[in-house]
């Protein structure tokens, strides 16, 4: 019984692949996914999706490219895609990261967007490998109702497909969705599907052709605050006198269900769990160790509600906005701190220097819509170049700070839609002659010298006209 089915399948597949191979890359036609498991974590406002794909090369030619596809709405909210492959046998397994690049394919059905995973070793015919894919989605949970009162909890929608969207045939697949609490208002049934506790299971589904899609909608309670930084400008200023000054300007917004009507302080203070459950009370920023001179302020002055905890490995800054943030409320603030330079600035063998610093936002569990990192190099430094692990927009600026004559070169990097997973290191290389360090002290000294000379001269010269 099984053989004819497979034969039919194979036949259909060959026909199908012939049809597509006219315009598609060759990797599409002979790969198939024998087993796929997807776990969607909805517990915070950043949706984490773990996808385990067992890819099989059913074709004859070896291939090293595997395609992932996303519906266009998801692709817009996609913050990061990572792919890992397990290496080694049994207990000595290690995870190896694979290259993932966005790919454009002509006439993709319904404008689906693609990412290509480049395998380290080409997948030979008949072989199979397991790829772990992790991708994060931002702004994918839609509050409904869109406006809630203080005492109501926040309900959101999540839309996806019960079937994994893939350009390949998937033999067997299952999706597990984890909700933050057991309170699920409604969810779409695509049999077999069931819910147990905080988990909703879709599948297993067998044998779905490429681009199968079955929309699902889950309406559930999510009271985690939707902390979104609309814009973040990080300025890292290097001083070769031993300090690295970081200034971060935030525009924070609670992107959850909008607050409606009354804000009652009595209720908020006396019954904090029932009232304003989804409000944003505080944020945690993880700063590098040995941080000093931390400040937290906004346009109208210092904000006194912050706590700094430091130990040898990390520093944690707990900041409270001036007021609790309800849905739709905004707050802008600035965090600044100093760091010892030797932890972040190094020299290369060819006498260049480079700064090694984290790129993303230090706040935990926040989405950054737009991030601008500015690295202010000391005056007199030349040939700046930045190395960032993901694509960013770059350009140069000039900034004038204390006692600058020619101005400092600023390397500006911009990126949109960031999640904490982007907190990887980047490097800025430049050349700098230490003699420039003395320019400003010498300038000051000569200014004072001239002032005293002028004083002495004034005291010794008689300027009166009358004699």
């Amino acid at each position: 019984m099984e053989a004819p089915i497979r034969a039919r399948e194979a036949l259909g597949f060959i026909l199908f692949s012939l049809l597509f191979s006219i315009c598609r890359s060759s990797s599409l036609n002979h790969l198939l996914i024998s087993n796929a498991e997807r776990r969607i974590d909805l517990s915070s406002h950043i949706v984490k999706v773990f996808l385990t794909l067992k890819v099989e090369n059913a074709g004859s030619t070896p291939t090293s490219e595997v395609l992932l596809s996303f519906p266009p709405t998801q692709a817009d909210h996609l913050a990061t895609v990572e792919a890992l492959v397990t290496k080694g046998k049994r207990k000595k397994t290690t995870l190896v990261r694979l290259d993932v690049k966005p790919t454009e394919l002509p006439d993709a059905p319904n404008d689906a967007k693609y990412f290509t995973i480049y395998l380290a070793n080409p997948l030979k015919s008949g072989e199979s490998t397991t790829i772990e894919v992790l991708y994060l989605l931002t702004h994918s949970q839609e509050p409904f109702p869109a406006e809630i009162a203080q005492s109501e909890s926040q309900l959101v929608y999540y839309r996806d497909s019960a079937l994994i969207l893939s350009p390949y045939h998937i033999k067997q697949q299952a999706t597990f969705i984890k909700t933050p609490s057991t309170k699920v208002e409604s969810f779409t049934r695509v049999e077999p599907s069931n819910r147990a506790g905080t988990e909703i299971k879709y599948g297993p589904y067998e044998d779905h052709p490429p681009y199968s899609f079955s929309p699902i909608l889950i309406h559930f309670e999510n009271n985690s605050p939707f902390a979104v930084v609309e814009e973040l400008v990080r300025e890292v200023e290097i001083s070769h006198w031993g300090n690295l000054q970081v200034t971060e300007q935030y525009t924070l917004v609670h992107a959850g269900a909008r607050h409606k009507g009354v804000f009652s302080r009595v209720d908020y203070q006396s019954r904090p769990t029932l009232n304003g459950a989804s409000s944003l009370r505080y944020l945690l920023a993880r700063l590098p160790p040995r941080v000093h001179s931390v400040y937290y302020r906004d346009e109208i002055g210092n904000i006194s509600s912050s706590h700094l905890r430091t130990d040898s490995r990390k520093s944690e800054l707990e900041i409270e906005p001036r007021y609790p943030l309800f849905g739709g409320w905004k707050a802008t603030f600035v965090i600044g701190y100093g760091l010892p330079l030797q932890d972040f600035l190094f020299e290369t063998s060819d006498d260049r220097r480079y700064l090694n610093f984290t790129f993303g936002c230090p706040l935990l569990e926040t989405v950054v819509d737009k991030l601008t990192v500015k690295v202010v190099l000391p005056e007199g430094s030349k040939d700046p170049s930045a190395v960032v692990p993901f694509p960013v927009e770059q350009h140069l600026e000039t900034k004038y700070s204390y006692l600058d004559v020619v101005g400092r070169t600023v390397v500006v990097m911009e990126k949109k839609n960031l999640v904490p997973a982007h907190n990887s290191h980047f490097q800025v290389y430049y050349t700098f002659k230490p003699i420039f360090m003395l320019a400003e002290p010498l300038m000051l000294a000569s200014a004072f010298f001239l002032f005293f000379v002028a004083c002495v001269a004034y005291l010794h010269i008689d300027l009166s006209i009358r004699k």
Binding site: T188, R189, G301, S401
Partner: protein, 830 residues
């Protein structure tokens, strides 16, 4: 102890300095130290709190300075501010003294030019201390001019730390007075110098000093009245001289022309009653000059006497007639209320409640004299004595300045500031002269002891010499004791000043600090919390109504339009706000709507025990409101003349808008252990009306310590008569997000309309397939299959029509009826 000065003098000798150079070195280094001291003693507030602008008026100055830096001088000069005095607006450029802002921006530009990357706020915060330092230099030179350099040094030290001056010039107190006192003292100094020398250059300088003062502060009226008074006294005492003539005329003419360039002052110098004295004296000077010339030409004294009588009578008569004509024709405006209240301390209380309501316009209590002057209060008469002993043009000036300003300081608390330089200078004369006399006494004793034999050859009588010798030990000891006493007093003065500065004058009054239960410092940052909330979470064009005290802060920190602010130029407008606050809610809402108000802000200290809140200011609102609108009567809010908020309070008080806004839901609040809920800690009573209901306003925000409470004005109720119930479903008309828009459809979910479908659902159970499905289907036509189901589901749960439907019915049945593809089965949640 003795080796220290010896080694110091050795050190000086090793530099081979002459005595005169030594003195110069000491003087310059003392002055430098005083300069620095004056600056750093004003930094307590920065160290205690932060580098921020203080209080109320400075926030307006800061806001205008920001505007000036961003838009340039031309725009600043022509600035019409829409954000204050809604809906009237305010011509800012024409109604302020721009000196302070221009100064700060100038300093800022210079620093920027020198590549000091400072923020304008830092410049604003440190402007007042910087000018205070400069004032010490002026005080030194002034002291030197009227007495000697020793008195100058003492004056510099005294004024550097005098609390009367520090109160208005700590870091962050970015107010006109900060630079104005410098300008005032500088003008006086240069004028006295001009009178002493008769130099045109100095009087030119004094004209420019006067111009700066006019541009900086309304207190220039004091200069323009004191100087003619001084000149008049000199004329009466027969001290008329060519020097005086040159100094006064040049200063007056040029100063007046320059002052006219300030838009806010304009033609007041020739039109206002307050400026007439200076003009009168100017003409009198010309008469004197003319008489002098006539006297010079005429040799006959008798003839001259007759001529003098006629001329003086004519001059006075002409002057009087001119003044009278000017007054009658309205060309010369009468004195303003503020000026009257200076001359008659009770005037404001009876006629202008808005002036009387400001605490710094109250008559000064003795304690605050003591607080602000300390020993200077006792040294002041002593200094006057010394001045009278050595009368000159300069000492007459300082005596007149001291006496007049002391009078004004007694009338208004804030004018202590004007008196401070005079008090410091006169006291410095006393200290300097006393110490000098004592040291001279001590030194001469030493000389007598050392060179007793040689002194015998002097011309003094032996008897007197014996007497002197007899009293020597007593005198010497007495001198030493007195010196020590003087130093003790001065050191007490220094400690007092530092203590006062750190305890009383360094609080920004935006951030409130208190001691917690364990002695730790608790900070109440509620003002900024509220203002920042306004700034971030209200519409850009929202109008905020509050009592005028907070107007400047709301516009500067909250960046929102206010109805009234601290520039109290329109009494009616303020009275309207006062009336709204003291009316019942349904009356107040009329006023609030007519003013187009979106938010109402009140300050309430009942939770924290903060006493300068709106409830305590409320009687002023009633008085000011009642002054314009007789509907508001003060006795309605009092019980037997007593102001209460507890159960015994007047019914009008318990139900007026201010009471309701302050105490809304306060009755549920436990403020203090062992006290009933609703215990007001600021007034120490349990409030009388715990069940406050608001009809037209709703609570929008309350800060964490309840100090600021903001209420939103609800939109008027819908006039449609049969719309009694507001629908339960709130997301009417929500556009369905077309998320997984694979099917390329979208539509609008309006659960209220889906009642038809609900009816259907009820039917489906009974009679499947036969129900008239058309109307329902057309409603969900635009929706994707799934979303149609969700929409229905929401409608069912919200239970729009109150029908109880068995939710186990699968909606797919209905959807199938609407010829929808139902690939999935949708289950409504419980």
């Amino acid at each position: 102890m003795a080796t220290m000065p010896a080694s110091a003098s050795d050190l000086l000798k090793s530099f081979k300095l002459k005595t005169k150079q030594q003195e110069l070195l000491i003087r310059v280094s003392i002055l430098c130290l005083v300069y620095i001291l004056a600056f750093i003693t004003r930094l307590f507030s920065v160290l205690r709190y932060e580098s921020m602008i203080h209080e109320f008026d400075p926030y307006f100055n800061y806001r205008t300075t920001l505007y000036l830096t961003e838009n340039g001088f031309y725009d600043f000069w022509n600035w019409f501010d829409y954000e204050s005095w809604y809906p009237l607006g305010r011509i800012v450029g024409g109604t302020l003294y721009p000196g302070l802002m221009v100064t700060a921006v100038l300093i800022y530009r210079i620093l920027r030019f020198l590549r000091f990357a400072v923020h304008i706020r830092e410049v604003c915060v440190l402007t007042a201390p910087f000018f205070a330092s400069n004032t010490t230099l002026v005080a030194y030179f002034f002291g030197k001019e009227i007495w000697d350099s020793g008195a100058g040094l003492v004056a510099a030290i005294l004024i550097a730390i005098c609390p009367g001056y520090i109160s208005r010039s700590v870091a962050g107190s970015y107010d006109n007075e900060g630079v104005a006192i410098f300008a005032l003292l500088f003008t006086f100094y240069v004028f006295v110098k001009a009178v002493n020398t008769g130099s045109l250059a100095w009087s030119l300088a004094s004209a420019f000093g006067y111009f700066y003062m006019v541009s900086a502060w309304g207190g220039y009226v004091f200069i323009i009245n004191l100087i003619p008074l001084y000149v008049l006294v000199l004329l009466i005492t027969g001290r008329y001289s060519m020097r005086l003539y040159v100094a006064y005329n040049c200063m007056y003419i040029l100063g007046m022309l320059l002052a006219m360039q300030i838009r806010f002052v304009g033609f007041q110098h020739v039109q206002s009653g307050e400026h007439m004295a200076v003009m009168g004296v100017f003409f009198l000077m010309q008469v004197f000059y003319f008489l002098d010339w006539v006297k010079h030409m005429l040799s006959d004294t008798k003839l001259f006497q007759a001529f003098l009588r006629i001329t003086v009578t004519c001059a006075v008569a002409v002057g009087g007639i001119a003044l009278g004509l000017g007054m009658v024709s309205g060309y010369i405006s009468p004195w303003t209320g503020r000026f009257y209240s200076l001359l008659d301390p009770t005037y404001a209380k009876d006629h202008i409640p808005i002036i009387a309501s400001v605490s710094e316009h109250q008559p000064t209590a003795w304690s605050s004299f003591m607080f602000d002057f300390h020993i200077l209060l006792f040294l002041f008469p002593a200094g006057l004595y010394f001045c009278f002993k050595r009368l000159s043009d300069a000492t007459i000036f300082i005596v007149m300045y001291g006496l007049t300003s002391m009078y004004f300081a007694g009338v208004m608390v804030r004018l202590i500031l004007v008196a401070t330089p005079a008090v410091c200078l006169i006291s410095a004369i006393a200290v300097s002269a006393t110490v000098k006399n004592l040291t001279v006494l001590l030194r001469s004793k030493n000389k007598v002891v050392q060179t007793g034999s040689t002194k015998g050859s002097g011309g003094s009588k032996s008897s007197s010499k014996a007497l002197l010798d007899q009293s020597q030990p007593f005198q010497k000891n007495g001198a030493i004791a007195l010196l020590f006493g003087a130093f003790y007093l001065l050191s007490r003065y220094a400690t007092h000043c530092t203590w006062v500065t750190s305890e009383a004058y360094s609080s920004p009054s935006i951030v409130l600090a208190a001691r917690g239960a364990h002695g730790n410092r608790v900070i109440f940052d509620d003002y900024r919390e509220a203002y920042f909330w306004l700034r971030q979470n209200t519409p850009q064009d929202a109008k905020v109504m509050s009592w005028w005290d907070y107007g400047y802060q709301i516009t500067a920190m909250g960046n929102r339009t206010v109805i009234v602010d601290n520039n109290t130029w329109n009494n009616t407008h303020i009275a309207t706000v006062g009336r709204a606050m003291s009316s019942y809610e349904d009356e107040a809402i009329e006023i609030i709507r007519s003013l187009d108000v979106d938010y109402v802000l009140v300050v309430f200290g009942g939770v924290t025990g903060y006493s300068s809140d709106d409830i305590n200011k409320f009687l002023w609102m009633v008085r000011i409101g009642g002054g314009v609108f007789p509907v508001i009567k003060e006795p309605d809010y009092l019980v037997n003349g007593e102001y209460r908020v507890d159960k015994g309070a007047a019914p009008k008080m318990l139900n007026c808008l201010m009471y309701k806004l302050c105490y809304y839901r306060f009755g549920e609040m436990l403020t203090e252990y062992g006290k009933p809920p609703g215990y007001d800690r600021a007034r120490g009573v349990e409030i009388g009306n715990k069940d406050v209901k608001l009809e037209h306003l709703e609570e929008a925000f309350t800060t964490s310590n309840w100090i600021v409470r903001i209420y939103r004005v609800k939109p008027p109720n819908n006039r449609c008569p049969h719309n009694v119930e507001t629908p339960v479903v709130t997301h009417l008309g929500d556009v369905f997000p077309n998320g997984s828009n694979i099917h390329g459809q979208s539509g609008t979910c309006n659960p209220q309309n889906l009642g038809v479908c609900l009816d259907l659902l009820g039917l489906v159970d009974v009679n499947l397939g036969n129900a008239p499905t058309k109307p329902c289907c057309s409603l969900i036509e635009g929706l994707v299959d799934l979303e149609g189901a969700v929409c229905l589901c929401t409608a069912v749960r919200a239970n729009v029509l109150g029908i109880h439907i068995n939710l186990s019915i699968s909606l797919s049945l209905l959807l199938r009826n609407c010829e929808r593809k139902v690939a999935t089965e949708y289950i409504c949640g419980p």
